[in-house]
């Protein structure tokens, strides 16, 4: 089992609904976020292209955050989801430094926090909150090992890219282009 997410940049409007839904679903404190929107513009007026990307933890196969965690708080759960056990975290910040995607933040309660792919929902067969809320239906989630999962079907017929492939982390966030 390998959980992954695909984001359709042809449909994302960068509204940030995924960010608010994550905030209310996971009680992310104000001023912090587990997911965010990147807007990238290319070209000069009027020959332009624009891409919105809803970004979060890439739940990398080869995850530097897990490797560098001195207490084992950062670990891999079922389906490759990368998690932080809050009570084991000493807040040293090594994982924050090691993440090429800047996906982690220091929670005011003193531990490091980040996207969990809403594992509490996924365990019940539901989608992460960001996927279920997205008004443009541009997020796809599921098990890559299942050829009929939403994410497998989305990746099958489309071109895609991952972010910072050169980091060698084997990220599991795919951007449909």
């Amino acid at each position: 089992m390998r959980y992954a997410m695909a984001i359709d940049t042809k449909k994302c409007v960068g509204c940030g609904d995924c960010v608010v839904a994550c905030q209310t679903e996971n009680n992310v404190p104000h001023g912090y976020c587990r997911d965010w929107i990147v807007e990238s513009v290319d070209g000069t007026y009027p020959s332009l292209s624009l891409e919105f990307r809803s970004e979060r933890c890439n739940h990398c196969d080869n995850s530097p955050c897990v490797r560098c965690c001195p207490t084992g708080a950062s670990h891999k759960a079922e389906g490759g989801i990368v998690l932080v056990t809050h009570h084991k975290c000493i807040g040293c910040g090594a994982c924050i430094q090691s993440c090429p995607y800047d996906a982690r933040y220091p929670h005011p309660e003193g531990y490091v926090d980040k996207c969990t792919f809403c594992i509490h929902r996924v365990e019940k067969g539901q989608n992460p909150a960001c996927v279920d809320v997205c008004p443009t239906h541009c997020l796809y989630f599921g098990d890559l090992d299942d050829p009929n999962s939403d994410v497998s079907l989305a990746l099958k017929d489309r071109k895609w890219k991952v972010l910072a492939p050169e980091a060698g982390t084997k990220p599991q966030l795919y951007f449909l282009t």
Binding site: K10, K11, V13, G14, C15, G16, D17, V19, V20, A21, Q23, T24, E25, N26, N27, H30, G31, C33, V41, G43, T44, Y45, P46, L48, S49, L50, E51, F52, H86, G91, P106, H107, P108, E109, G110, Y111, C118, H120, R121, K124, Q126, D132, V133, C134, P135, T136, H137, C138
Partner: protein, 751 residues
Amino acid sequence: MKTRRDFIKISAVGTGATVLGLSAFGAKKFKWFEPKIEGPVSDEDLTPYATYCEVCFWKCGAWAYVDKQGRIRKIVGNQNDPHCNGRLCPRGTGGVGMYYDEDRLKTPLIREKKADGSQEFREASWEEALDLVASKMKEVKEKYGPEAFGLFNHGNPGGHLEHLMRAYGSESNAEPAFANCRGPRSSAYFATFGAYIGSPECTDIRDTGCLVLIGSHLGENMHNSQVQEMSQAIDNGATIITVDPRFSTAAAHSTHWLPIKPATDIALLMAWIHVLIYENLYNKAFVDQYTFGLDHLKEHVKNMTPEWAYGITDIKPDVIRKTARAMAGAAPAVVIHPGRHVVWYGDDTQRERAMAILTALLGAWGKRGGLYIPEGVSVPKYPQPHYPEPEWTWKDINEGKYPLATMGITTELLKASVPRLNYKHQVKAWFVGGTNLPLAMPDKKLFKEAAEAVEFIAVMDTMPMEITGYADVILPEATYLERYDFIRSSPNRVPNIAVHVPAAEPKYDSKPGWWIAKQIGERLGLHDYFNYDDFSEVVDWQLKQLGTSLEEMKKIGVKEYPRKSGPLYLGDGEEFKFNTSTGKVELYSVDFADEGFEAMPVYKAHPEPPQNFYRLIYGRAPMHTFSRTSNNPNLWDLMSENAVWVNPKVADLWALKKDQEVWLKNQDGAVTSFPVKVRVTERIRWDSVYMVHGFGHSDKKLSRAYGRGASDEELITNIAVDPIMGGTGMRGNFITFLKDNPATEVKEDKA
């Protein structure tokens, strides 16, 4: 005697939120504190309460999830609601912030004049505040007649006040949603098709082959179901044509982006019409059967060629031809989106007419993938006496101007409040509900003069805002999550209704709008119009007439009804009489001609920015609505301020850097109260700047939003009024940059 009423800040009340200055890891030091980790709660442990979102006007059906401690944890869309299909937009998801905002209005407040002449608000009991409003309403009625009590309203809260005012005898009401927003399209589409576009608009984007957006930035204006349908259209491979001087989100997702020169849209539309007619691409069957005036139109657009339009619009003739052919190729499955905030240059009804005519030529009215035929549920009126007949209404305030206005015009209501302007019918007092006028109205001077001139202002709202600063009495309203309210019934593909059920008790000492209106009504002896103890009785009675009940609706939230008016689309060749004077779709508008207006749209040149000035274009961001959400903690997190978009060429010329703070000054010398950050981006033309509307709040009680970003409204002093329906065109303003604080400059001048 004139009562001087100026903007005052709500400062005398409340202690404000305590800000803990613990740094992210600082908290770690206090080991004796048990961390209060409160993770996600599974949906099964939460209780859902039926509601519909009131953060914006789309009113999506939703569920408010409440935990065992009675706290509202999250809000999610109702799967059965066609406004949202189970998915809210960021504002809807962030609706919890509206409830939790600690800056909310907490108690009634009354303006008090002190011995030294200064004014402040003091806390008051509900009894005292309501008595005061009722006594003023009695006083106005005796002195001037009830008609002199004007109402500025919007949304549900405004609806309760409208009921109160009509029972009292006044129909002097107006809402910015008409003359400051979508009025031109109402008048234009009614003149053409004898039907209104409605809200949500009856655009069949879901099944369209070609979506044409003219300055309509879907995705940034987060009109939920339409954004969802645009996404479906992208999946379906529909052609999307976006006309916008700015590279909007919709433009980025389009097949064709036409970066038009601002203020020239009518020329492009007429050239498209020219191509359709002279290349014989129009829908002959539809036009022959249903329309009136093709010959007039043909003659009218004879010289309006793509080559003619190129010189005006900057859009190349081949692009105009190619896009017109793309529309014709997809016809009748073409949506020419009528837009929403369409008051731009004062000839907006004519621009909307051109869009309606284009729709007709493509045969896209009443067709799959074009404009569908909407149907709503008629909610029976709760038994009450007839409203008294006022001696004059908002129509009379216009004094014969704007004959095709279908609702009150906010600017006219303001003007009627200024004695100097000698309106025949004078407005002497205001009730304001659900609209933040100082940031909604152009021409701040006029607003201030009117606000100072009237004898009394009562404001009902949930948050302190610019408008509350002008009030004599402030009535804190409960949010939509804390009250019963009107049944939502808006036309859609399938008729449907939705209800509000309170998910929590009103916070602080706030009260539902219906309760406030009833309490005032009772004091005025209008009990028969408020013959209920709780608004849930009204809702339940109405639901029972509709074959359901509050009990059932609490479980389902949204209910659909079968259509009665016939199918969603017009059958091929089906006979149909349009509700116009000719009974046909009017390519040539008989009504317009009768009223002395042009029967067919004509392009007229509009002023261009003088040297060193740039056209001010404003718009929306998906996470905010109007100026009413800027302080919402969840939405503030997403976007805390606006920026002024500046093309890199312009930035170079002015040596402006990214994030540099500037003040903006317009052609009439108006300057923003607060600085705004520069955003250097290719997404805007070099003759224009862009900013998101709704920022630059001046009330310090908005602890997050105060002074963040700048208000575009302060820069809109030149208004092009639409002679047909009174729309206030606001895109004719030009700005320049001030790199130093203008307040400092003034001081230096004096020294």
